[in-house]
Amino acid sequence: MSTIMIKRLICAAVLSGTIATNVNAEELRFTVWTGSKAHLDMLNDIAEGFRQTHPDVTVRYDTIPFGDYVQKLTLQMAGGNPPDLGWLLENSAPAFVEAGALADVSKTLHATENYNYADFSTSAMGLWTKDDGVYGIPFSTSPFLVYYNKSLYDAAGLETPDQRATDGTWTWEQLKKDAATLRNADAGVWGYETVDGQGYSARVWHNLIPIIRAYGGNAWTDGTCHLDSPEAVKAIKLFHDMIYVDGSAVPPGEQGDFFSGKSALTVTQISRVSKLADANFDWGIAPLPAGPAGNAATVGQAAVVAFAQGKNKDIAAEFLAYMTNAKNVAKMAEFFPPARKSVLEGDAFLSSNPAITPEQMKIVAQGIENGSVLPSHEHFPQIEAKARPEFDALWSKDADIQATMTKLCQGIQPLL
């Protein structure tokens, strides 16, 4: 046999082997917005577990940066290259569900042994169900919390927010007072920083909604805008006074990063604890303050979804069920506060993150249990764009809050 013949045979054998492997193996592509090694190691660990029952299935996690996530995901879908599964934020949920972009996984979930779908509360599933269909399972239900600089509180001799929360005296009015007391212009320390310092732009809803809800208001209900209600206006007035009367809140166009000690208080989610690993001050967390309408915990949510156009829909649904079973939800709880009641109530959850004490984790658990999800709507991007100039108009000393919010409601009402 000539050398050429041998080479041809080897090539043919290799090619046929590759083809045969491709026929049997299935790869699920799963889009996420995290690039953190710790997160990806944990996710790969779950994929490895799935291989025990599905040896031919591999899962490839595809990281898309958070800022471009929805845009790139949509372009992949439009380009005929949809992922099989992915993460999705609460504000994208209604648009994706209404557009038929997500696969209904209810049959697979109900057919999966010991899945215990009832473990997810109806409120946690609100955005991800339509009629009898289930279009996603929340993997992260993250309440907004108050982070405070304990060193500054102790130096000023003030009662800390978590002590006040226990006493029942932790209110937005109190937070306003504390912020004004702790503002130290000479040291460049602000009293209060808004969510990730973006409370006037990308996160204006996250900034204002918790206060508005504590005052008994809401963004909208049943297609009617309530952002111009007396309750909402009173809540916005409180925050407005913190900027323009007390001078305690970091104003628009300024930086006052809580995590580097430049603000005494901020509101954000539990995942930001990682930013405090090297903090040179003591810190603590507390629930969101109460208002005249009582406690109003607010949560942000993200879910695992399977895409309707995915090439391996059945396997994708099975992996979704596996990833969100009680065991794996408990595993993910280290980073992502769970929506499963059984995991939330278990002791393992309280000690799941070494950077957070069990007492602090209890605050997170309470936030999840009592919290309502951020406002969401099928036309949320349009509502956000329409409301943006009116929110911008609030940020001046002489702003007429009632008139501005009335105009905002008139603008977004047709979209609701």
Binding site: Q71, T74, G253, P381
Partner: protein
């Protein structure tokens, strides 16, 4: 029996033409697929109502154009913003570029250093440039307002007050892009034969007269090129706006390219966004043709 041996059936000219086409075919194929194809596709998409998310699309004829031009107030505001941005940026950029080129085209001490300094922003990442300027333009702790406070001026909240926000993005964009125009002007200035200016000087012409009668007319072709690329660049501006103001405050810096992005990728109205992109294309084409005609008419 003798078989006739056939010679080559193609003429030399035809063979040369074939090999010529074969040589250019790789780049031509790429050009057709990646440039001409999408351009034609945008015209087609602009006549459809196509939702990127639901993948549903149907033909609506000129409806997207009619809606943008007659029913959408935001579109006209956005168009005005784009024109204000261009009207602010183009003259400022060109005057500054010409001034710098006149000062730095001579072989004086330090000229190369300053040319490098003014050209450096052109090759700096647009993202880094925009982010650094948002820090410099902070209200109380920004370097710009601190410097102004030294001379007793209480600076505004540059990026958060509607009028100042537009001025700020124009100014920072000019600083970012002026270096390229400066280099083009320097190259043009250095190609003007010295004999002309020396002869004029011998005839008793002063500096201003030499500039007005000799330098400026000889710079005309370069000025046209610079004007066209600066106008086109200013109407297409996106990154600067996206990073510095996000179209705010109160939509004061919401320009056409950013609005197209919002319609296409945030609201998923791909057909509508395509129609807006065609309008931007026509606007840029019209302005470019107008500039060329005006230049030709002056000759």
């Amino acid at each position: 029996m003798s078989a006739a041996i056939k010679g080559p059936s193609l003429t030399l000219k035809a063979r040369e033409a074939i090999s010529g086409w074969l040589f250019v075919s790789p780049i031509l194929t790429g050009f057709m697929i990646f440039f001409v194809g999408p351009l034609i596709a945008v015209f087609y998409y602009s006549t459809t109502e196509w939702n990127l998310l639901s993948q549903q699309s149907h033909f609506v004829g000129m409806e997207n154009y009619v809606d943008a031009l007659t029913r959408n107030d935001t579109f006209w505001n956005v168009l005005v913003n784009s024109l204000v941005f261009a009207a602010g940026l183009v003259p400022l950029n060109m005057l500054l570029a010409l001034g710098l080129a006149l000062a730095l085209s001579r072989s004086v001490r330090g000229a190369v250093f300053f040319r490098t300094v003014f050209f450096a922003p052109v090759i700096t990442s647009a993202v880094a440039w925009a982010i650094i300027w948002t820090f410099l333009l902070q209200h109380e702790s920004g370097a710009v307002n601190r410097a102004l406070s030294v001379i007793g001026i209480n600076g505004p909240n540059w990026l958060h007050e509607p009028h100042w926000a537009m001025a700020s993005v124009i100014f920072t964009r000019v600083l970012k892009t002026v270096g390229l125009n400066m280099i083009l002007y320097i190259a043009a200035l250095q190609s003007i034969p010295r004999d002309y200016t020396e002869a004029a000087r011998l005839e008793g012409a002063n500096g201003w007269e030499i500039f007005r009668r000799i330098t400026w007319p000889l710079l005309a072709p370069t000025t046209l090129v610079i004007m066209v690329i600066t106008v086109v660049g200013s109407l297409k501006v996106f990154d600067h706006i996206y990073l510095m103001t996000g179209g705010g405050p109160q939509n004061a810096t919401l320009v056409l390219a950013f609005y197209i992005y919002e319609q296409g990728f945030k609201f998923f109205n791909t057909g509508y966004a395509s129609a807006l992109a065609v309008i931007l294309f026509v606007l840029i084409l019209a302005l470019t043709i107008l500039q060329t005609i005006l230049k030709a008419a002056r000759k």
